[in-house]
Symmetry: C2
Subunit: 660 residues, 2 copies
């Protein structure tokens, strides 16, 4: 039992670490940690199951600070509860170059940071993904190995962002009863009172999507505790509205937007110390308080030990599988399976849409990998993401491996991030390439975090035809290639599609997008190659001695490049073709390889049914680009290719013009 007095001192330790760190950095957000200190203290000192000495324990409770600007709340908790890689020195380095304690929590910077947050609404959707993962793995491995809660602390901003509705409605639908949202209900945003911009009854809103909701005074520890206990027993996800005062304790700034994003200032800090009866100097946590916190950090040691004992007692096969899955390693037979499939493709040489080729590859992949969990944003039949192994998950049956995410691209992408962060599963899912715009913030965060999520992005150009410019990606390959660390693939045929899938799966620390066609494509690769040629990013598909023309193309335009090459050959013009399935991987190759692939033909031509931006790096700024310069149009796709001049004839004409 923690006495009220002790609770207050523990909470104040958080408050002053936040106050002092923000003041020292002269930058940051003290208001939220001060306001949420009581809620966080109750959660971390009584309920959260975690082991600071073993931060990656798979069955720990997950805590997501969705309101990421309150990062000092999390850093303070990690330090106080005894995470070894979060020292008081780290706290003092808040927001400084190279510090673990970045402005917003950055996944990978320190243990206990379960996800990168800051862009609002992402954390709550990550938490939904984590809760999905827990429920799925509990179903698969049993509650002996997997049975934990997922908590997320969200602010008003998180709840105003549209992504939160996608997350809330998905979680309610799937009855994620072990998901508990703590809403920092402080009534304040940057512009002032929330009432300036919103009048939503959040309780009614959550309940409309099948949630349980509770209300508490966010500064009453016993009320908070009771609410958490009630939430833990719920058969629905629960939202606990914690009425708090932003900047709690600051005599002159509490309850106002002034305390949200600026240091308190020396004078107000002194007044706050006085008001809260905190006599310590900056960054000093009294021994009794630190002891109390460190004890809280040891609360789950036995729970963790018991879990380890259960794991040790688990049948060898199952244990090995569980361990492998959480290590993120693929099974040994994976590459063989892909290889066998590639051999088959070299024989059958299918003419097929790459979205269908992706389905075929997934049929192999999902047969070998038990950890994939598929889905689509209500485009299952168009994205071809469902295979024979992936029964649908339903609210009452998580034995499946396929999620009907609904028409919620953003919530889907953020949930996938949560699933990947949770561990034990590899999420992939489907949408139209054009709608990558709807989930771009989550894709970016996956790239920033370096996590393995795979986005199947079909209908990847004007090749989708009649749906027209609202559905035709033109700038999307360029826009996605612009995101650092993201691998954007655009395979040219079934073999390249299989190879791109293999690369995406084999990279533990990078997200991928795979752009796929609606329309059929011929087999560009006709011979079996042991090497994964796509792993080089670009490679020579057709070579030529003393080439006068190099044609570079990706995806569906490789077929056009191949035809153009044949036409040029007939005209006595020596030309080579380079397939470019992945820009990022190509530019990571050694210079010698890149030079050889770019080659030295006097004429370089790039072909892609998208904009030129980015292609200069391959074809040179004096190269010719055959692609799009505008939005698309609504018409049958073959007419569109003619209309926009993306044809073998156009490539040939460009080559001849340059050579003339």
């Amino acid at each position: 039992m923690i006495s009220p007095e002790k609770h207050n001192r523990m909470a104040n330790a958080i408050r002053f670490l936040a106050i002092d760190a923000v003041e020292k950095a002269n930058s940051g957000h003290p208001g939220m940690p001060m306001g949420c200190a009581d809620v966080a203290t109750v959660l971390f000192s009584r309920y959260l199951t975690f082991d600071p000495k073993n931060p990656l324990w798979p069955d720990r409770d997950r805590f997501v600070l969705s309101a990421g600007h309150g990062s000092m709340l999390l850093y303070a908790l990690l330090y106080l509860t005894g995470y070894e890689d979060m020292t008081i020195e780290d706290i003092k380095q808040f927001r400084q170059m190279g510090a673990k304690t970045a402005g917003h929590p950055e996944y990978g910077h320190a243990s206990g940071i379960e996800t990168t947050t800051g862009p609002l609404g992402q954390g709550i959707a990550n938490a939904v993904g984590m809760a999905i993962a827990e429920k799925k793995l509990a179903n698969e491995f049993g509650s002996d190995l997997m049975s934990h809660y997922t908590y997320t602390l969200v602010g008003d901003g998180c709840l105003m962002e549209g992504i939160s509705q996608e997350a809330i409605s998905l979680a309610g639908h799937l009855k994620l009863n072990k998901l508990i949202v703590l809403w920092d209900d402080n009534g304040i945003s940057i512009d002032g009172a929330i009432s300036l911009a919103d009048s939503t009854d959040q309780h009614a809103r959550f309940r409309a999507s099948g949630w349980n909701t509770l209300s508490v005074d966010g500064h009453n520890p016993e009320a908070i505790a009771a609410a958490i206990e009630t939430a833990q027993k719920s058969d629905k996800p629960t939202m606990i509205a914690c009425k708090t005062v932003i900047g709690f304790g600051s005599p002159n700034k509490a309850g106002t937007h002034k305390v949200h994003g600026s240091p308190l200032g020396a004078e107000e800090i002194a007044a706050t110390r006085k008001a809260l009866g905190w006599e310590e100097e900056a960054f000093v946590v009294p021994a009794d308080v630190l002891d109390a916190w460190r004890l809280a950090g040891l609360r789950s040691t036995k729970t963790h030990k018991d879990w380890e004992a259960r794991l040790a007692a688990t049948a060898a096969d199952k244990k090995a599988e569980f361990t492998r899955r959480f290590a993120g390693d693929l099974p040994g037979n994976f590459s063989t399976a892909i290889d066998d499939y590639k051999k088959k493709l070299a024989e059958t040489k299918p003419t097929v849409a790459t979205r269908k080729a992706s389905e075929d590859a997934l049929e192999i992949i999902n047969g070998v990998l038990t950890e994939t969990i598929g889905g689509s944003a209500d485009l299952t039949g168009s994205n071809n993401t469902k295979t024979s192994q992936t029964k649908s998950i339903t609210p009452d049956d998580f034995s499946g491996r396929y999620i009907h995410y609904g028409i919620r691209e953003h919530g889907m992408a953020a949930a996938m991030n949560g699933i990947a962060l949770h561990g034990g599963l590899i999420p992939y899912s489907g949408g139209f390439l054009i709608f990558s715009d709807y989930c771009r913030p989550s894709i970016r965060l996956a790239a920033l975090m370096g996590i393995r999520v795979i986005h199947v992005l079909t209908h990847d150009s004007i090749g989708l035809g009649e749906d027209g410019p609202t559905h035709q990606p033109v700038e999307h390959m360029a826009a996605l290639r612009a995101i650092p660390n993201l691998m954007m693939f655009r395979p040219a045929d079934a073999t390249e599609t299989a190879e791109c899938w293999q690369i995406a799966l084999e990279h533990k620390n990078r997200p991928s997008g795979i752009a796929l066609t609606r329309q059929n494509l011929i087999a560009a690769r006709t011979d079996y190659e042991e090497k994964n040629l796509c792993s080089f990013g670009a490679y020579e598909l057709v070579s030529a001695s003393d080439a006068q023309v190099s044609i570079f193309a990706s995806g569906s335009e490789v077929e056009i490049a191949l035809k153009a090459q044949q036409m040029l050959t007939q005209k006595g013009i020596s030309a080579r073709v380079v397939s470019v399935p992945c820009f990022e991987l190509f530019f990571e190759q050694p210079e010698a390889y890149r030079g050889a692939i770019i080659g030295s033909a006097p004429v370089n031509i790039g072909v892609e049914a998208g904009i030129r931006q980015g292609w200069d790096s391959l074809i040179g700024s004096d190269g010719t680009f055959i692609g799009m310069k505008s939005f698309g149009a609504s018409a049958p796709y073959k007419e569109l290719y003619q209309h926009f001049g993306i044809t073998p004839e156009a490539v040939v004409a460009a080559a001849e013009a340059k050579l003339a």
Copy 2:
């Protein structure tokens, strides 16, 4: 009074035009028009105030087909009600090259298409913007000139997208009582039953945000009519759930996802004709039905005439202002005001953050233009978008000119589109550049439609400092430049900021983004220039005879370029500096101008605190780029510039290395 029999035939005319057009195109979505034909018939034949002979009448009711895949519903209505530019031939050309009748409704293709829809959820948020515009203009010009309803027909998909929550909560907060949402409650999405992915009680959800909600049988005309009449009288926005059967009338496919996105097929069409008692051949509307529809199209002729009479009787000043505003023309004194301001800046040469310079420019602009309506996604003090003229709009007082959009970037951007489409107002608003990702789908649609919305995007690089990589745009300038028709500005100082604002406002048919710094910048432009130099996209800021080095830079990096140029000069290396505030405008200049600006120095260097992508078009693929290659980091901004090597010294070193 329209008899049940006549109503049915009128609705069936819509159904069969949709069925026949989709069948002929062998592509499209018949299910929604068939399901919503009754709702649309009631609305268009009894309530919608519009004049097909004067489609741009400012006080017409607005109708937004948010479920844009049901485009044939709209095209059929436009043809049937007598819009002259929508003929039966146009209907027959559905989804063909160059047709007005594109796969999804495209703004500008034909009269009566109030906005481009297709990407789900956009239309409902556009409608919110239109309703805001109506309420604002009614306040300003009086209900004699402005008093109309905004209707939008939305599907389940629209309501699952997160943007809809932002739109719904904003509309409820602002009490947009003349906004009426007709929800096509058919329980079906592409994957199958909605219950696969969602369990939300939409009534409860809307009511949680302050809406009135009603339920009707969507195939009972009198019930629909009664609901619309109730909604019209509400003091809140109203959502009418219209329970419909997707593909109504198709004996074997109605009520299933099979009728959503594919032609019915000849056999099922014959069966549907039989079931609905429709004997006509394809594309034939019987004369009595067409007459009834054309009469419906004439319903508001007198209302419109009366309105014209009221406009004619309006005081000359007010009338001129109203007319000018709806023509989208700026007042004659606008350019003089900007010019005077530029003269002042040439004297004061302020060192100022461009976000602050933007506020100063807006203070001038908002004083001259009565039509601007500002706002921010809860970053008013950071975006500097509020000026002395822009009092906040509140739910009960629309006399202001500033909208607290809340933390709803996506809803904000789509509402801005709606405001611009409505006419009479020029919307601008603010967010962080990084969060352009959150509203990218709406920015893209603004570019596709060619409408004047202006996004103030502050904190435009690592220059924002401590908030770290989640808040530091690195790839965003490239990603936004990739969108066709969007003008992305990145001004270097106060003068350029004023010029960029002028360009953005003077382009009626293009959206703009203005990327602005958090940190102070020196005045790059020190002399008054009558010409708007930014309108050339790029221009020589410092010239040099026989330049050995050309340095190209945008925004905050122009200061770095200028310092580097001075350092090079001291070393005896002749260098020039080109400021590049807008790529798009530069590449629209005549070749001679472009050639002169790019110049012929042996060394080209680009400097921008973002990624290289796109810069090769200026500096050549053999040029040197000083910028970002990765995500940013959390630290004070000056340290970040050092850390990432974006400094005058780095430019000088690069120049020397190339010249060596």
